[in-house]
Amino acid sequence: MSTAARRRLMRDFKRLQSDPPAGISGAPLENNILMWQAVIFGPDDSIWEGATFKLSLQFSEEYPNDAPTVKFLSKMFHPNVYADGSICLDILQNQWSPIYDIAAILTSIQSLLCDPNPNSPANSESARLFRENKREYNRKVKEIVEQSWSS
């Protein structure tokens, strides 16, 4: 079945394959183009270096007018990621634009790793450490990075 959303996702997929941005990859599930899995690598020269985080992206038939639901599948410790893996990011909520594609979403999440917004915390413990105790924050992040290799 070919709908506007599915056609657009096929094009997203082709673009992602022919011109992949650094440190991200993604593909739809074999039998369902509305359901994607993606991997984000932690940016080099940052505390997140070496991390390989798995994510799921669930699109609706309204895509690209509606944002997909994006969740971390790997365990996370980040001020803007909830315990269940969902992400508090403006472009996935009220700042969504139909111009964004999968590559744009994943690069935004990648840059969110090093650039958290502790003022709208989804994980209050992480936000608190980020503000008050960088050492402990960095240590916890390192743990999560190491855990990401095995899961």
Binding site: A4, R7, R8, R11, D12, P64, N65, S97, I99, Y100
Partner: protein
């Protein structure tokens, strides 16, 4: 009121000399009229209800009225600022909450900044022109190629295909009132999609909804116009006077206080808004529970837990299993029970006058109990009339059923059943005034002279309203023949007239200040 006056009166908030001049003139006229007719102190919080039908300082607006009013403002701003496009002015006005004067002022100060903030970066040119290119344009939403003629771009030149644009705009409209501030689909782009673009791109039905949302914003942003609060009513009402005391009548039949603008409250004549506010607050307030406790409980002398005595003798035990301390005491004097016994001069030897703390507590409890009883009395009557009003409203709506029964049973013309409607409408009015008269009565000084007159008028009104109600509810089966019907009809008609008279007396009496009423 002519159109011009109507327009001039728009926005009392504005502090320009011209506007405030208008407003004060209006005030003078109003007060003069009031003084001539009733000669009461201007500082009285009450105004006459009798004047209601004559004093038209409000008007009911339908959708067409709103449309032509908002359009008039758009046209005027367009002329003053020499902006060629109405769509651009419409966006600017919405950005400025429909405040014409403020818009003109801000535009004069710094047009570039205002226009950028409002999402209309160029009022002279709203859309981007298609640059002659060989070949197709790639739409960044669906990633497909389209001939330039099937694409659209606002002045920001973010160009997308028409099907994608249509989809985008229609989804925004389906999401609700915020659609009137829809920005260009491009990320972070602040240019607002104007009315003409909507018209050009979306279906006529969706465009209609979009226009309705514009009218909604016109009403919502305008302090002088409010939607009628009756469920499902499509009208709105403009009222020029901020502190209007009389009720307004919507075309849907609902009569209500413009300030309170609440369906549940409705028209609260003869009370001022502040009194109704206080009353409703009191009714829902936790503090009433405190009053009850004060009136009906005593405190354990040891641990101060409140105790209600619901039977038994005066030997009280502050029960540990109810959260108490186990202390045993006498309910009358609140002294320890160990001092009550055969060895201390008898079990109830405490009947001596005592100025102790206990006595003080008793006085407080007594006052609270009296106050609570008074409140319960007024509240009960308020509630009863409120319920009776709901019944009267139902009777009014079902009057046509009774009419049908009569028409089928007796050989009468439909004009002969008009009295049914009149009676139910009168009942409804009376019940509403009676309901709030008990709020007014509660706050009226308990010992004042005015109280006598008030209660006298209230009693008359109440008595005759109840009689009318009984008359109206008479079962049709009991009417044997045409003669009996005519007799019943005359009775009901008569009582309708009588209660109208008593209602007018009551309302005029209160409006006249019951001579020198003190309201606190």
């Amino acid at each position: 009121m002519t159109d011009d006056e109507m327009y001039e009166d728009y926005d009392v908030d504005d502090d320009s000399a011209e506007e405030s001049g208008n407003e004060s003139l209006d005030d003078t006229e109003y007060d003069d009229a009031a003084t001539q007719e009733f000669d009461f102190d201007e500082n009285q919080p009450q105004r006459s209800l009798g004047k209601l039908t004559r004093q038209k300082s409000f008007e009911v607006l339908n959708k067409d009225d709103l449309f032509s009013e908002s359009h008039k403002i758009i046209k005027e701003v367009k002329d003053v600022l020499s902006i060629p496009s109405e769509a651009a002015v419409s966006t600017l006005l919405r950005h400025m909450k429909w405040n014409k004067e403020k818009l003109i002022e801000r535009y004069m100060e710094n047009p570039e900044k205002l226009c950028i903030d409002a999402g209309v970066p160029n009022v002279m040119k709203l859309n981007a022109t298609i640059v002659e290119k060989s070949g197709n344009v790639s739409c960044l939403i669906c990633l497909e190629d389209y001939p330039p003629t099937q694409t659209f771009a606002l002045i920001c030149n973010h160009r997308y295909c028409l099907p994608c644009y249509k989809n985008y705009l229609e989804i925004k409209v389906s999401e609700g009132p915020e659609c009137i501030y829809t920005p260009c689909p491009a990320p972070k782009c602040k240019v607002i999609v104007h009315q003409d673009a909507f018209k050009q791109i979306v279906s006529p039905e969706v465009f209609e909804r979009f226009n309705n949302f514009i009218l909604k914003s016109y009403v919502d942003d305008n302090p002088q116009v409010k939607w009628c609060p009756a469920p499902g009513c499509i009208y709105s009402i403009r009222c020029d006077r901020k502190e209007r005391k009389e009720a307004v009548n919507c075309k849907c039949g609902f009569q209500y206080c413009f300030n309170c603008n609440d369906y549940e409250i409705g028209d609260h004549m003869p009370c001022p808004c502040s009194q109704v506010d206080k009353w409703l607050q009191k009714a829902s307030d936790e503090s009433e529970n405190v009053t009850w406790m004060l009136a009906n409980t005593k405190k354990c002398p040891e641990c101060r837990s409140p105790i209600e005595k619901n039977g038994g003798c005066m030997h009280m035990t502050c029960r540990k299993n109810a959260g108490g301390c186990g202390f045993e005491f006498c309910w009358l004097c609140r002294g320890p029970w160990t001092e009550h016994g055969s060895t201390t001069g008898g079990y109830y030897n405490c009947n001596k006058y005592d100025k102790s703390k206990a006595k003080e507590d008793d006085d407080k409890a007594h006052d609270a109990k009296t106050e609570l009883e008074a409140y319960m009395f007024y509240y009960h009557r308020y509630e009863s009339h409120r319920n009776a009003m709901k019944i009267a409203d139902e009777q009014r709506r079902n009057a046509h059923l009774k009419e049908q029964q009569i028409l089928s049973k007796f050989d009468v013309r439909s004009a002969d059943t008009k009295f049914l409607m009149e009676a139910t409408e009168q009942l409804l009015k009376n019940r509403r005034v009676l309901q709030y008269s008990y709020v007014y009565g509660y706050y009226l000084d308990k010992k004042s002279q005015e109280r006598n007159l008030f209660e006298y008028l209230q009693e008359d009104l109440e008595k005759h309203t109840n009689l009318l109600s009984t008359q109206y509810e008479q079962s049709l089966d009991k009417l044997e023949d045409y003669q009996a019907f005519i007799k019943w009809k005359e009775q009901v008609t008569n009582y309708t007239r009588i209660t109208k008279k008593f209602l007018d007396n009551f309302v005029d009496g209160v409006a006249g200040g019951l001579v020198n009423t003190q309201i606190n």
